[in-house]
């Protein structure tokens, strides 16, 4: 499975520009760290771990719904 992979390997500048742009523009980034802290500190407490994870899923669902709405709106405007 590892043979013959062709992927884009970013330069150091491009890679750093990417994660810096994320941290500048993505306002929901802190939620990941809060959830990670909860999971790490409560490893083995599956109820708390699941609850922490769920916060990210709700966020993802909201985001995808917003993105879908924006995309359909753009398509509607441009057609």
């Amino acid at each position: 499975m590892t043979q013959n992979f062709t992927i884009h390997i970013p330069s150091q500048d491009e890679f750093c520009n990417g994660y810096e742009a994320y941290n500048r523009k993505e306002r929901r980034g802190s939620i990941y760290f809060e959830a990670l802290e909860t999971v790490t500190e409560n490893w083995g407490n599956t109820e708390l771990m699941a609850r922490a994870s769920k916060g990210l899923f709700v966020l993802e669902t909201d985001f995808m719904q917003t993105l879908a709405f924006q995309t359909s709106h753009i398509l509607w405007v441009t057609t």
């Binding site: 590892t2 970013p10 890679f15 520009n17 994320y22 523009k25 999971v39 599956t46 990210l56 993802e60």
Partner: protein, 130 residues
């Protein structure tokens, strides 16, 4: 999650650079279990994205995060109920990327290398910020 805590614990401190084909069966099994466990109650929809978001919390150094755009851009497109095989391919591609960019992040860093890679992928492919 309770049913899979042992397997998750085995991967908790593993690093993507140690990924090998011997991990495939366990990753596929875990992926399927979480896919079913995270099924949306309202309509039963399956979300391979949610599975990897969970991996990002539970095995942050070992199993990478994707979304449909990122998967597509790495030629690992999936269907909701047939995502394990593309995901395994994606894991190996992220291993290769990890090898190449591991020196491009702060040392020490406050987050996992795979989190940095997800931030880069999201900015470049999902959002087109760079």
């Amino acid at each position: 999650m309770g049913d899979n805590i042992e397997e998750l614990s085995a991967y908790k401190d593993k690093h993507i650079l140690s990924l090998s084909e011997t991990d495939h069966d366990r990753i596929s099994h875990l992926f399927q279990k979480l896919l079913q466990a995270l099924k949306r109650e309202r309509d039963g929809a399956l979300s391979p994205v949610s599975v990897t978001k969970a991996f990002g919390l539970l095995t942050p150094n070992f199993l990478p995060i994707w979304d449909s755009t990122i998967a597509y851009r790495y030629d690992c497109m999936y269907f909701s109920d047939m995502a394990e095989s593309p995901y395994l391919r994606f894991c190996h591609k992220m291993k290769l990327l990890s090898e190449r960019v591991q020196h491009h992040v702060p040392h020490p860093d406050d987050r996992a290398l795979l989190k940095r890679i997800d931030e880069y992928n999201y900015a470049k492919y999902t959002m087109g910020w760079i």
